[in-house]
């Protein structure tokens, strides 16, 4: 009981810090220094329509590289942890076959979801969305397959190859940035092309689609690892 009261008191104090923060917060009327630079220079420098994507991939590319590594790390740790105890493959218990609606529905929907995912991460630099969102959508497709047939086994080999290849492509494009363009992770190694076209904004679409594949692969590997912990 004291714990709840102590936590309540502490959170009140933390709340007062937040209130202080709120009081000190004055919304800007004008874009600040960095935002104005991005607003003015994204179009002609990078050639990407979606400024957020330009920032995420080029200007703050190292963050995204870090973030992709976070996902790679999480998937690897989950793989390592869950495979630790699973040397003995217990026998699978017989699950009732999933409902008719689910199987036919998923057979129809899965390709559509994959198509949508591909569209989202291919047009990352034009319309809202991008690698992460597209990857999540692909993962949800894999999820649907898992739901319909829980004993389905995805080939770990394929997933880790996709994951690693896309990671290497991302790093390679970064290193190419040093050789051919301004610096590490500079997306101008390919031409920025005509504004608004699919193959514009330098290497951003390539990077983002590979990021999409990578994120999709990583979420799928997380799900399959968790699924394979099925015990008798």
């Amino acid at each position: 009981m004291i714990r709840r009261f102590a936590v309540f008191l502490l959170l009140l104090a933390l709340g007062s810090i937040f209130v202080n923060l709120l009081m000190g917060y004055v919304p800007d009327s004008e874009l600040n220094l960095t935002a104005r630079y991005y607003a003015e220079h994204t179009a002609q420098d990078i050639g990407a329509a979606n400024i957020v994507t330009a920032i995420v991939i080029t200007y703050r590319g190292l963050d995204t590289l870090g973030e992709v590594t976070v996902l790679f790390l999480t998937a690897t740790i989950i793989g390592m942890v869950l495979s630790q105890g699973q040397k003995h493959r217990a026998l699978q218990r017989q699950l009732p076959p999933s409902g008719e609606l689910l199987t036919t529905g998923s057979r129809l929907l899965v390709p559509l979801i994959l198509l949508l995912g591909a569209y989202v991460f291919l047009n990352g630099h034009l319309t809202p969305g991008g690698g992460f969102q597209g990857g999540a959508i692909i993962a949800s497709a894999a999820l649907l397959l898992l739901l319909t047939d829980p004993l389905r086994r995805f080939s770990h080999r394929l997933i880790s190859v996709v994951e690693s290849v896309s990671g290497l492509v991302f790093v390679a494009s970064g290193v190419l940035g040093i050789l051919y363009a301004g610096g590490f992770l500079d997306s101008r190694i390919l031409s920025t092309g005509t504004f608004g076209a699919l193959f514009s904004a330098g290497v951003i679409p390539v990077i983002y689609s590979f990021v999409g594949l990578k994120v999709g692969a990583e979420f799928t590997s997380m799900l399959t690892n968790l699924a394979e912990t099925e015990q008798s």
Binding site: R3, A6, V7, L10, L11, A13, L14, I17, F18, N20, L21, M23, G24, Y25, V26, N32, L33, T34, A35, Y37, H41, T58, Y59, R60, G61, L62, D63, G66, E67, T69, V70, F72, L73, T76, I77, G79, M80, V81, S83, Q84, R157, S160, V161, E163, S164, V165, G167, L168, V171, G174, V175, G177, I178, A181, G182, G183, F184, L185, D186, S187
Partner: protein, 1046 residues
């Protein structure tokens, strides 16, 4: 030069590559991991070389080809390159160390390790705030992963606690970052620093959140339960990485943040740091698990470095030297100790005694502890010296005091641990030696000594490793395999040779001390010939002590003086620790001596007032308000070494429990170092007034009381060596009294005392040691009647007794004669009464020593014992001859120094030496005449005695007392049993161990405080999160509440 960005790109590329490989190719994957880590260390090393040696400018790396505020930039300078090299090397060593675990876990674990090291380098290099957050998240998640490599089931719990707390930390940091961005308009650290974040509304509060988040990663005091659990349960190689790499990287991240926050945040940094340092060290006192103790110690060291970072405004350009020195010392020591813990199977501190079977590993352990505590010649020593001076110069004395107190606590529990290794019983089976792990540890030792040399070069005080005596002492380490006799010859030759070489450079005053310490030490070393085996560890320790002593005498600057002082302290500690039951006493000796040494350090720091190479002679010109305080600090520091009353409790145990040939060394020579210090102090600073109290008058009283107390306690001792030890306390009280008289004859008496006390104390200790070796016991009531079997020892003890008690023919009388002349000229009356009372009491225990050991009835079991070994008798006979010569013609030693002393006291009261007689204002003393007269009287009386009782009929002891039936406890019939019972009834109340009780109360207080307070780490992950929240809130209320709160 390969651009540092390849460290990050390489690390990432290799990690993804590992994903590609088929699961079966383990060795190939392991090869890639090692190759990548080696590549990263090579890049970092080449950049460090470029910055340090070629003096290149820090290099900026722009990502995305645009200028910093609009893109992320990395900067690599000297500090970053050094840290990167440290982390990549530790990572490489960890990979080598964890070879079997990595193979068992497969290539995933290798990928995680690679990313962990890459992310740490990212944290150090990045100049962008959000990028710092991303890399710190990477570090957190890979830590979560690597913790699971441990074979310990409890690592899971530690991992969950860590993740809960890191969730909280990342939340705080994210909010802080976005509001800081809103306030300053940029995410670049240098941009924010330029924008002076505190001026904006809400800016300082946003920075407060970021600062708290990163500081929480440093495991500050109340909120570090989770860190300790990881240290305890994780794989030792990872714990090493966690303490060294994460600690270093996060410290540097905080250093970058302090750039943004500016100077007003420094006091808070120091406050949090010092609280963490003291609390962690205090809790470490009661730890029994080795890895948890190492966890507490690394939390403490990181707290200390954080405190130093908080003082960077006054440290100026020495800042990187000091912070770097402490950080590198902590890094190498912690990595080494964690790797060592991987070799020991059990986790209790006493189980480390198994290390004793591997002398090389024991040496490694000593190196790491000396590195951590900051003993000469390691980097921590130079860093603490400069830190103390700069803090004292700026008047931050309470902070200096706290740092020294914490360092003392740390020295206490680390050397107690070392005592367990040397003394507790440990079996060979306790060790799990694998070549890879042993090589890693020895690699750390080599790096430690390289660092010692490097920091010596950088320190500007003269590299300690260039001092010849110290090098001579260290030379004995590789020669340990030689037989003891050869090493003994080398040692004696070294001592005498060094004395001969530096003889011309000594003035009269130094000559006396040098004569006692160097040739005197060689004389005592003669007694070390009687051992057969290799005596591993004896000669490096002994030579270290003598090196310290020889450097002390010629030390001109305060730095050399203090370095010599700590060297001899450490050397003597290792010597005393060799005794069979000497572990607790050696520890109390070390803690008192280091406490005294830290007081001296504080005294010198206060006196220097910012002057970096402060000369001893300059002590005379110390400014008025500080002078008495400097005098008090230095005096107490030196008095801990002369065991004056109040700080004397270490002496009896240390001297009594030491080995036969070590006791004379430590008692006869080491105490003189304290006297030398006091002499130097009084010569330079003279009389000092503190709040109207004359400090030398206080010293006078301390001298008198310790003379009385020392002699009183000596009377009632049953153990012969303890009796002699207490008598040393008493004699040192005399010397201190003479010194404090502050007149010519008083000082002359003290100097004569130095020689006298050395000769007869070493002789008595050797003779008692010889008797104890033969009879197997030191209890006096068990001996008796040994005069017939050990005549030479008897003669040596007899001469020693006569000299100590000051009876005419021998030099003791000369000392007394000068002493009474000195008292005549001084105007103190009351302390003299105590000194006069102490005189006859001294005679009581001396009489008891010779009477109970040599005279009286011989016990049955000692019928067949032989005389003490030749090599113990020889030095005693030399001492007897020396005493005779010194008694007959004292002028040979004292004349020159008498002239030397006259320069201090305006020529009044000095002796004039004509031929054989010495005369002063009050009388004259002709030593030769006295010797002849006494000799004649003694021989006639002796002859008459022999003549009278040649017909005497010896009677068996038991016939008299029990008319031939057998008593159940024979020793009670020996008259030595409870020899001074009547005196005990009369003076018993004076011998209450008040001081011992006081110091025991202090240690008890510390231990119980630690025992109670450490209960806050309940082990519940939620409680740790609440601790973190409470820490943030409390610091907010204390800090922001104080300022304007916006």
């Amino acid at each position: 030069m390969v651009s540092p960005i390849y460290i990050i790109a390489g690390g990432l590329g290799a990690a993804f590559l590992l994903g590609l490989l088929p699961a079966k190719w383990r060795t190939f994957a392991y090869g890639i991991t090692l190759a990548t880590l080696a590549f990263m260390s090579w890049v970092a090393g080449s950049w460090l070389y470029a910055f340090a040696v070629n003096g290149a400018l820090p290099v900026e790396i722009f990502t995305a080809g645009t200028q910093p505020p609009f893109a992320i930039n990395l900067r690599v300078g000297l500090a970053e390159a050094a840290l990167a090299l440290l982390m990549t090397l530790t990572g490489l060593h960890a990979a080598l160390y964890m070879k079997d675990t990595l193979f068992k876990q497969g290539r995933q674990a290798m990928a995680i390790l690679l990313i962990f090291i890459m992310a740490l380098c990212g944290v150090v290099f990045t100049r962008d705030l959000f990028n710092l957050f991303v890399f710190m998240e990477l570090v957190m998640i890979s830590t979560g992963g690597l913790v699971l490599l441990s074979s310990d089931q409890r690592a899971l719990g530690a991992g969950i606690k860590y993740l809960i707390v890191s969730q909280l930390i990342s939340m705080l940091m994210l909010i802080g970052i976005v509001f800081a961005y809103h306030a300053t308009g940029t995410l670049n650290i240098d941009g924010m620093a330029a924008a002076h974040i505190n001026l904006f509304k809400g800016g300082s509060l946003a920075f407060f959140l970021i600062f708290m988040a990163v500081v929480a990663e440093l495991k500050p005091f109340p909120a570090n339960g989770w860190g300790l659990d990881i240290y305890e349960s994780a794989h030792p190689a990872f714990s090493a990485l966690f303490s060294v790499a994460t600690g270093g990287a996060t410290l540097y991240a905080v250093d970058k943040l302090l750039l943004i926050g500016g100077a007003q945040w420094l006091p808070m940094a120091s406050a949090i740091g010092i609280v963490t340092f003291i609390a962690a060290n205090l809790f470490a006192l009661v730890q029994t698990n080795d890895r948890r103790l190492l966890g507490y110690s690394s939390v403490a060291q990181i707290g200390l470095i954080f405190t130093v970072m908080g003082q960077q405004d006054i440290l100026g350009e020495r800042y990187y030297f000091i912070a770097g020195g402490i950080l590198l010392a902590h890094a190498v020591a912690k990595a080494g100790l964690f790797w060592l813990s991987g070799l020991v199977k059990q986790r209790q501190l006493t189980d480390w005694a198994a290390l004793r079977s591997q002398p090389l590993l024991v040496f490694a352990f000593v190196t790491f502890i000396a590195l951590l505590v900051g003993l000469p010649p390691f980097p921590g020593f130079y860093a603490k010296w400069d830190l103390a001076h700069l803090l004292a110069a700026d008047g931050r004395l309470w902070l200096l005091g706290l740092i020294l107190f914490g360092a003392l606590l740390e020295a206490a529990y680390l050397f107690r641990w070392f005592g367990y290794i040397i003394k507790r019983e440990g079996s060979e089976a306790g060790l799990a030696l694998q070549p890879m792990k042993v090589d890693a540890t020895l690699g750390a030792v080599v790096v430690a000594w390289l660092l010692a040399y490097l920091w010596g070069q950088l320190s500007g005080h003269g590299n300690l490793l260039h001092a010849i005596p110290l090098l001579f002492a260290l030379l004995f380490l590789p020669l340990e395999w030689l037989p003891a006799k050869v090493k003994n010859i080398m040692a004696i030759a070294g001592l005498v040779g060094w004395f001969y070489l530096s003889y011309p450079s000594y003035d009269a005053f130094q000559l006396i001390f040098a004569a006692v310490m160097l040739p005197g030490g060689a004389l005592i070393l003669l007694a070390s010939f009687q051992t057969q085996q290799r005596r591993v560890g004896f000669y490096p320790a002994a030579m270290l002590m003598f090196a310290g002593l020889s450097m002390l005498i010629v030390a001109k600057g305060s730095f050399d003086f203090f370095a010599a002082w700590e060297t001899l302290t450490v050397g003597s500690y290792f010597l005393i620790l060799r005794g069979k039951h000497s572990e607790p006493h050696a520890l109390s000796y070390l803690v008192f001596s280091l406490g005294g040494a830290f007081l001296i350090l504080a005294g010198f720091a206060l006196a220097a007032q910012g002057v970096m190479d402060f000369q001893i002679a300059a002590l005379a010109q110390v400014a008025k308000p500080f002078a008495p305080w400097v005098f008090a600090l230095l005096a107490i520091g030196f008095m801990t070494k002369t065991a004056s009353v109040g700080v004397h409790i270490w002496l009896p145990g240390a001297h009594a429990e030491a080995e036969t040939d070590v006791s004379p060394m430590v008692s006869g020579i080491l105490l003189k170092a304290g006297l030398f210090g006091l002499f130097v102090l009084l010569m330079t600073m003279g009389k000092q007034q503190l709040y109207g109290v004359e400090l030398t008058h206080v010293m006078l009283w301390i001298g008198a009381i310790s003379a009385l107390v020392g002699n009183l306690l000596a009377i009632f001792q049953e153990d012969a060596k303890r009796l002699l030890a207490y008598s040393s306390v008493g004699q040192m009280g005399y010397a201190l009294f003479g010194l404090a008289l502050m007149n010519h004859l008083g000082w002359l008496m003290a100097l004569m005392f130095v020689i006298n006390h050395y000769i007869y104390k070493s002789m008595l200790f050797l003779s008692v040691g010889g008797v104890a070796k033969r009879t197997g016991t030191r209890e006096m009531y068990r001996m008796g009647g040994l005069i017939t079997l050990m005549p030479l020892s008897f003669i040596a003890t007899l001469i020693g007794i006569i000299a100590v008690s000051g009876v005419p023919p021998l030099s003791g009388f000369g000392g007394r004669w000068i002493f009474y002349n000195a008292i005549m000229t001084a105007d103190y009356r009351l302390p003299m009464v105590i000194i006069f009372l102490a005189g006859p009491i001294a005679f009581l225990y001396l009489f008891r020593l010779i009477h109970t050991v040599f005279l009286g009835q011989l016990k049955d079991e000692f019928r067949k014992i032989k005389e003490a070994p030749f090599w113990i008798i020889l030095p005693q006979m030399i001492f007897v001859a020396a005493l005779m010569v010194f008694a007959l013609v004292p002028g040979v030693a004292l004349r020159k120094v008498d002239v030397y002393l006259s320069q201090f006291f305006a020529g009044n009261g000095h002796l004039n030496w004509e031929g054989l007689t010495i005369s002063s204002d009050f009388g004259y003393w002709n030593p030769v005449a006295i010797m002849v007269i006494i000799g004649v009287i003694f021989s006639t009386l002796f002859a008459w005695l022999l003549f009278v009782n040649r017909k005497a009929q010896p009677v068996k002891q038991f016939n008299i007392v029990f008319a031939a039936e057998r008593p159940f406890r024979p020793e009670t019939t020996h008259y030595a049993w409870n020899f001074f019972a009547p005196y005990r009834k009369a003076l018993g109340f004076l011998t209450q161990p008040l001081v011992t009780r006081f110091w025991e109360a202090v240690t008890e207080l510390l231990h119980s405080a630690a025992e109670v307070l450490r209960r806050i780490y309940t082990g519940n992950g939620q409680t740790y999160a609440i601790h973190l929240l409470a820490f943030v809130v409390v610091v907010y209320l204390l800090w922001m509440g104080g300022s304007d709160g916006i």
